[in-house]
Amino acid sequence: MRLKLEPRPVASKWMGYASPLIAAGLTVIAAFILFGALGKNPLLALYTFAIQPLTSLYGLAELAIKATPLVLCALGLSVGFRGNVWNIGAEGQLTVGAICGGGVALWAFGNEGWWLLPAMIVAGALGGMAYGAIPAVLKNRFNANEILTSLMLTYVSIQFLGYLVTGPWRDPEGFNFPQTRLFDTEYGSLPILLEGTRLHAGVFLAVAAVIVIWVLMSRTFTGFQIEVGGQAPHAAAYAGYSQKRVVLLSFLIGGGLAGLAGLSEVAGSIGQLQPVISPGYGFAAIIVAFLGRLHPLGVLFASLLMSLMYIGGESLQMNLNLPLAVTGVFQGLLLFFVLGSDVLIRYRITLGSGRREAQV
């Protein structure tokens, strides 16, 4: 006897939409077991993890703050993933966006004006785009695998940020702490939207990006070409769509949005450059993109869920003394269940004897 995966005649469309919910449900069940095994009251732990953060205005604001960089990064990645362009380096593009946007704020020190914030946003986006263009050019010119190059460039950017904040850009009045000056609170920061919370105007960037990417993918010829390039590269070549253009465009969009995410982090929540500006948003965004079915609206909901995991993990650490690694475990579980449900939507498991249907 052996287990076999057999394609289903028709994949249920309804189940396609339900599968992220099923995956979320299964993650909750797994969490229940996990908390029990750790000797905590599962109900209390689950409440602390998933409900408690949502019971206060402050918590809700935190949810939106953490979802913002995830939405931005995941939207950009989803465009590339649809076009079969595997940008794994959103974290690096985010970092470079933060460096460029932050760099403008530091350069303007003493001469700030109303123009500063727009200039920082533009610099952040351009920085991310430029950094994203590197793997794209390497792929188009030398056929270098973009998964490897974009991933490796992430570490380069993080080291570079470390060099800047400990070296040339270190705050001269900062007692040798590895961080830059604080950006100007009036002109060099994203304004706070809700008194008493940290919610900043970066959420508007995220919402605008959802709409723009939605229109791009569903209404424009460029979006169509990206989609064709991803689903059937030969058809794209036959019809005369340039795959190199798709690669470059995907990386520019992905890099630009990740750069915006980095800028929104440093100009919104953090207020300066420091060695660590992201708890891995750029990598978590890969999960978010797939969890959201590579669809802009799906990405928005998946980002909120992922954001809740970050906050819930912190909440568990504070209230129940659980390690922060719980967040990573949940991200992994969630991705596992999403991919698992996806496979079972398209295939069913059959039991067959090993001798049947031997292939030649």
Binding site: E6, P7, R8, P9, V10, R219, T220, F221, T222, F224, E227, V228, Q231, A232, H234, A235, A237, Y238, A239, G240, Y241, S242, R355, R356, E357, A358, Q359, V360
Partner: protein, 511 residues
């Protein structure tokens, strides 16, 4: 043949369901010893599934198989070979880097000494008129020689039943004749042959009996010699055969498209380089490029479409303008259209709707404005294609892959024709398409030519090419033969050309 012989092979009630389709539905089949039995049917009729069941590759859901009267179950190909069943697949399973003898030894179930095996190969190849040197490497062999390797691989095991799946699709007419000689000799020596094909004239000249399948069911049994190609075709498609009409063309017309010494190195290291191809296409003319698959057709189509630019722009000219360096989009803008050899994945995106597939190459036909797609225009364009070319699809929102091969091909050809091209290039337009759809496609091509479009058809189906084309040329090993009017040449001459026997005059081509 004696009448009350014990059948070599007897199948009864064979049923096999795949998700969504019933590939074989209660099929009975009897093959007598020494009989050449045709299994006839359109693509998707269930022929391949049935022979895979016989050869043990696929297990039937129901039904039984008798071998010389005894009930047997065949669980895998090696059990089939042990019984005495050999099979030559349509797609060869050979290792290019190994020699003929090594390849054959790999197909044997018991260990063999290569030297004795080589001797055996030579004996068999002489006895059955299958010239083959066992020491040669497979990558250096022609397609016909590779097929001989597959046949000899079966023959060294002394089969009692040899299954041949569409063996002639890769052969020139002369090679087909010599293959038939071999098969007749085998049959005289008592080996049964189950011959799968949809080429009716072959079945008539070769086979003693025929079983016709349609949509998984046996619909007729007959003696091919007593039928006509037309009656066989009607058994196969289950209805009267449509015919197409071609009005005779008057005189010469202005040249709209020309290839001037087109040479190109293939981007695929195992591909065929194009060498000095010269050809002219007149307004309203249909020109055929015949040839055995793998002689540069793929590269030729790539060069024409613009997926690979030529070294000199003047190698391809349209209306006197050099276009060799232009990409597919620029060539389309000048009035070219293409139907590629692969339908799913090249001519159409399998998982997109028909409407979106209409946009795939219809984008130059006001379906896009300022970068935005115009849903209404796209949908009405797709609907027009579906109606004008009688594409059987419930609506234009179904995925391209859900259509049958013939219907999808009608959609793709329809889309390209609706673009109203000045030059239309078609690669293997009716490959794997059922007889009814093929006739509709031929008629559409003829009608387009009557409106003045110059048409170039690359195909290996000589009957088709002779039926609808004005002139015919042959591509062999990347070179193009001179072209001749289809009225002044015949299948034999074209067959000679297909094996490479022609003078290329370079630029001095016959007109």
């Amino acid at each position: 043949m004696a009448d009350r012989q014990t059948p070599q092979l007897e199948l009864s009630g064979i049923t096999k369901a795949y998700p969504g389709t019933l590939a074989n539905d209660n099929v009975d089949l009897t093959v007598l010893p020494g009989e050449i039995h045709a299994l006839l049917g359109e693509n998707g009729a269930g022929k391949s599934t049935l022979v895979k069941i016989i050869y043990g590759v696929v297990k039937a859901d129901a039904g039984e198989m008798r071998w010389l009267g005894d009930r047997v179950t065949v669980n895998n190909p090696s059990e089939a070979r042990a019984l005495g069943i050999g099979m030559v697949f349509q797609h060869f399973n050979l290792f290019e880097t190994l020699t003929v003898a090594e390849n054959i030894s790999l197909g044997l179930d018991e260990p063999h000494d290569i030297k004795t095996l080589s001797g055996e190969i030579i004996t068999i190849s002489e006895r059955y008129g299958l010239p083959l040197n066992p020491a040669r490497h497979v990558h250096a062999l022609s397609v016909a020689e590779r097929q001989r390797v597959e046949i000899i691989r079966c023959l060294v095991q002394n089969p009692k039943l040899l299954i041949m799946d569409e063996p002639t699709s890769v052969l020139t007419p002369q090679e087909v004749d010599s293959l038939f000689g071999t098969l007749r000799q085998l049959s005289k020596e008592g080996c049964s042959i189950l011959y799968i094909s949809h080429k009716l004239d072959e079945i008539q000249s070769l086979c003693d009996a025929a079983t016709v399948l349609r949509m998984g069911k046996v619909t007729a049994r007959c003696t091919p010699a007593r039928e006509t190609p037309r009656s066989l075709a009607e058994m196969m498609i289950g209805s009267a055969l449509p015919t197409c009409k071609r009005a005779s063309r008057a005189g010469k017309s202005e040249t709209v498209f020309s290839l001037n010494g087109l040479s190109m190195v293939s981007s695929d290291p195992h591909g065929t380089d194009l060498k000095d191809i010269t050809l002219e296409l007149g307004r309203g003319e249909i020109v055929a490029i015949a040839g055995v698959t793998g002689n540069g057709q793929k590269e030729f189509l790539c060069a024409l479409n613009g997926e690979q630019a030529t070294a000199d722009a003047r190698m391809i000219e349209m209306l006197g303008e050099p276009i060799g360096k232009l990409g597919p989009k620029d060539r389309r803008m000048r009035g070219m259209a293409f139907v590629p050899e692969e339908r799913l994945g090249r001519g159409a995106v399998p998982e997109m709707s028909l409407a979106m597939n209409a946009l795939l190459t219809g984008y130059l036909r006001n379906l896009v404005r300022r970068g935005f797609t115009r849903t209404g225009h796209i949908r009405s364009f797709a609907r027009d294609i579906r109606e004008a070319f009688k594409v059987k699809a419930p609506d234009i929102d179904v995925e391209a892959k859900s259509l049958s091969g013939g219907n999808l091909q009608k959609f793709i050809i329809g889309r390209e024709i609706m673009l109203d091209p000045k030059v239309l290039v078609l690669g293997f337009p009716t490959w794997g398409v059922d007889v009814g759809a093929a006739a509709a496609i031929h008629q559409a091509i003829i009608d387009l030519a009557a409106r003045g479009t110059a048409i170039l058809i690359v195909s290996e189906d000589l009957d088709e090419l002779f039926e609808i084309c004005d002139r015919i040329a042959v591509i062999a090993e990347g070179r193009l033969s001179p072209s001749k009017s289809t009225r002044t040449t015949n299948i034999e001459e074209v067959g000679m050309w297909m094996s490479g026997a022609f003078e290329t005059g370079g630029h001095a081509h016959a007109s």
